[in-house]
């Protein structure tokens, strides 16, 4: 058992030759691991008796050691190396016992003196447990760094040592009895530190300086920090930094080791939090197959009616995937080769309205059908004739304008009526079907593109082109404290002047593309409403989208693109593009 202590007689002699006071102090040594260790004095006695012995043998531990030994069992579990238990030096309890043993060397204190000597040094406040600093208030050793302004602990100093029962009073700061070789053999003591480390994030480089203060506020130099290698982090003692790339979310236990100016080892355990990558936390749950108004999670369509090309894609957003609810967006696109008139519509059902997926479907379908009727066949031809006279007189323009105002009014009424009827059939409120609606009707004539837009809610309708130029065909509803927007309902239709403000016309040259999108796309791409009119933002968006349009399946390419990850933007996404 005492294999490692006093490997040579000279060590023992050196130890014995220390001043009396230091020996007394050393009786209160770090001894959490002390169990069956003979005291210095008994060893000395032994040595004296066994001068010819090559190595001191272990004494059978006297009875008094048992109690503290048992109490020491618990602290051991808190991470102190068992081996070191053997290496700790004199036990206090032995002093009275061995008081009768005469000191073999001059500088050995007389045992009688040691027994009587009770230096009147007041014990500092410390936790109640008489043995082992680790026995002191486990809650104090909370894993999270203590940042609270009021320290709830009457914390022992970093040099705290355990009270050993029956020991004579001794000063709190022990002087090391051992010469350097014995330092390494001392068991580290658990002691509090003032230290905080910011949380780490999975797959993000972590590099943080570890600057710690003991409970007196003195900076300490850290010898080492034990970190499980599997977590991806390590400690560099030279720079006193923790660094690495954590790969798993959770808590990483850090065992911080340091020695004080007197060479005494201490440790402190701290939990470092590793935060998961939010991307990895998203679930993808199918909506209930049996729910009313079932809608597919994705939809896409490509129309090629030379020279018109239109592609549209619509995808359920991450937040609906996460809670297993439906896509609420919808779209309608059509190109009529005979008349040359095209229609693009996108709609965003209100998140809080339980049947808004049906509302967006009804609105897009109703508008689509009525617009088709008004822009194809004879009506379509008439419209085209008017358009050809656009530059000649304002009458043509007024006529076209009137045509579309009437059309959008009728379509709005038709859509609202259809939703009302649907609601009544449940019965429920029409508000359950609330939806936004963005409409563009367009025709290319010679070098120019005619576009008329109708805008209710958020999202955006834009005529883009050439590079560096964009015409936003209206403005989004909703204020600065948006979370609210406007939906297609009777109020919108009844408010005459403001209804007509929702309709905008233009006959533009050099249009590269007409784009409509719900706010699930426009919010991540244009952070604020004012960015919507920033041509450079549109240039950037076009450079992202245009390569997709010149693939085999532009609608599929757009659908895939709609999966892009943008923090905080997890709404359903729908885009319709004509180019």
């Amino acid at each position: 058992m005492q294999k490692h202590v006093y490997a040579s007689s000279s060590q023992l002699t050196t130890a014995i030759c220390l001043p009396i006071s230091r020996l007394l102090i050393d009786q209160v040594r770090i001894s959490t691991q002390m169990t069956n260790k003979p005291s210095l004095f008994s060893r000395a006695a032994f040595w004296r008796k066994n001068e010819d012995a090559s190595e001191p043998e272990s004494n059978t531990p006297p009875q008094q050691e048992q109690t503290p030994a048992r109490q020491d069992q618990a602290p051991i579990k808190q991470g102190q190396l068992p081996i070191e238990r053997e290496q700790v030096l004199p036990k206090q309890e032995q002093a009275p016992q061995s008081s009768s043993a005469p000191a073999p060397v001059n500088c050995n204190p007389s045992p009688a003196q040691s027994a009587d000597a009770k230096p009147p040094i007041p014990q500092p406040a410390r936790p109640s447990a008489p043995t082992g600093p680790t026995a002191s208030t486990p809650p104090n050793l909370s894993p999270s760094p203590s940042l609270a302004p009021k320290s709830p602990f009457a914390a022992p100093t970093a040099q705290t040592t355990p009270q050993v029962p029956k020991a004579p009073q001794a000063p709190q700061s022990p002087q090391p009895i051992a010469t350097p070789p014995h330092n390494q053999s001392q068991a580290p003591v658990l002691a509090k530190l003032q230290l905080s480390l910011p949380n780490a994030k999975v797959n993000q480089e972590y590099l943080e300086a570890v600057t710690a203060l003991d409970t007196n506020g003195h900076a300490i130099a850290i010898d080492d920090i034990e970190i499980d290698a599997a977590c991806g982090l390590s400690f560099d003692p030279k720079s006193s930094h923790i660094q690495g790339l954590p790969i798993t979310a959770g808590t990483v236990s850090l065992k911080i080791k340091w020695t004080n100016s007197k060479g005494q080892p201490f440790f402190y355990t701290l939990n470092l939090i590793v935060i998961a990558d939010p991307k990895s936390l998203w679930n993808n749950i199918e909506p209930p197959a049996s729910a009313p108004y079932f809608k597919k999670n994705t939809d896409s369509l490509f129309i090629s009616e030379h020279p018109v090309r239109i592609a549209a894609a619509s995808r359920r957003g991450r937040s609906h995937e996460h809670n297993g609810s439906f896509r609420d967006d919808d779209f309608f696109i059509h190109a009529d080769s005979a008349s040359g008139w095209s229609t693009l519509i996108v709609a965003d059902g209100a998140g809080s309205a339980r049947f808004s997926r049906r509302g967006s479907e009804i609105a897009t379908t109703e508008f689509g059908a009525l617009i088709l009727a008004a822009t194809t066949g004879d009506l379509g031809t008439e419209l085209t004739n008017q358009l050809e006279r656009w530059d000649e007189s304002s009458d043509a323009q007024k006529s076209i304008s009137a045509h579309f105002q009437k059309l959008f009014q009728e379509a709005s009424v038709a859509a609202i009526k259809k939703i009302d009827a649907e609601a009544q059939s449940i019965p429920t409120s029409a508000k359950d079907y609330s939806t936004t609606l963005l409409v563009a009707v367009t025709k290319r004539l010679k070098t120019r593109t005619f576009i008329v837009a109708f805008w209710v809610g958020d999202g955006v309708i834009a005529a883009y082109g050439p590079s560096g130029k964009v015409r936003v065909m209206g403005q989004p509803d909703g204020g600065e404290h948006a979370g609210q927007t406007v939906f297609l309902d009777a109020r919108v239709v009844m408010d005459g002047p403001s209804f007509f403000k929702r309709i905008k016309m233009g006959f533009f040259s050099d249009i590269t593309s007409v784009m409509l999108m719900t706010d699930g796309v426009s919010d991540p791409k244009f952070e604020t409403d004012s960015e919507l009119s920033d041509p450079s933002k549109w240039d950037a968006l076009w450079s992202e989208i245009s390569p997709l349009l010149f693939t085999q399946s532009p609608e599929q390419a757009l659908l895939d693109w709609l999966e892009f990850y943008s923090p905080k933007h997890h709404d359903d996404r729908t885009i319709a593009v004509l180019w």
């Binding site: 009021k150 939010p278 996460h322 979370g483 004012s530 905080k568």
Partner: protein
């Protein structure tokens, strides 16, 4: 990027010492752990902890969930609720961003108050300062018979009570706060309206009684 500010106002007076404050600590740990695993809370929710006993203090300023670390809490002293309300007003003034035409501001803050006793100061003054700000939802919890729901009703219309300030009830209250924050994180990401009261939060568990 719009943040969802959440303020916890916790009574750390002497009467909380023992089981109640331990339950609060556990509740807070559990809440933080849960929100760290919620992708929408991680992105949107910012949390602050204010405690009040003989004075009010900010134990943790408004911090994003990813960086948030649970502060150490202990209980002793009186119950300066007014100081807490006043401090909350100060913190909202400093920490919560208002919207401008250039940039959208934060969502209206959620506030969850927890107290087990009667205020020992002039809470009306603190409340007056707080009234200058618009809150999303302010829930006050009266824990046990030492607390006064009627008094809390004067502070906010949304008051809940616990039969006792014990581990089970307090744990339930904190779980409910956690799911409320999750639900609000979700709805703000959908762009829904700022929260308007208890009705917009998930229904409270059995241990948490809604005071009508």
């Amino acid at each position: 990027m719009r943040r969802l500010p959440v303020y916890l106002l916790l009574d750390t007076s002497g009467s909380m010492h023992g089981e109640p404050i331990e339950a609060v600590k556990v509740g807070l740990d559990t809440l933080v752990s849960a929100l760290r695993q919620d992708p929408q809370a991680l992105e949107s929710a910012y949390l602050s902890v204010i405690t009040f006993d003989s004075a009010a203090q900010v134990l943790a300023p408004l911090t994003e969930m990813g960086a948030f670390q649970v502060p150490t809490i202990e209980a002793n002293g009186t119950t300066e609720l007014g100081a807490a309300l006043s401090l909350l007003a100060d913190r909202i003034q400093i920490e919560v961003t208002k919207s401008t035409p250039e940039a959208k501001g934060d969502w209206k803050p959620l506030v969850f108050l927890f107290t087990d006793g009667m205020p020992t100061d002039n809470w009306q003054t603190g409340l007056a300062e707080l009234k200058k700000f618009t809150l999303g939802t302010f829930v006050a919890c009266a824990a046990g018979h030492g607390a006064d729901s009627a008094l809390l009703k004067q502070i906010t219309p949304d008051v809940v009570s616990l039969d006792a300030a014990d581990a089970k009830a307090i744990s339930a209250y904190f779980k409910w706060i956690s799911s409320s924050i999750s639900a609000r994180s979700q709805s703000v990401e959908k762009g829904q309206k700022d929260s308007g009261g208890l009705s917009e939060l998930p229904p409270p568990p059995a241990e948490v009684n809604v005071v009508l």
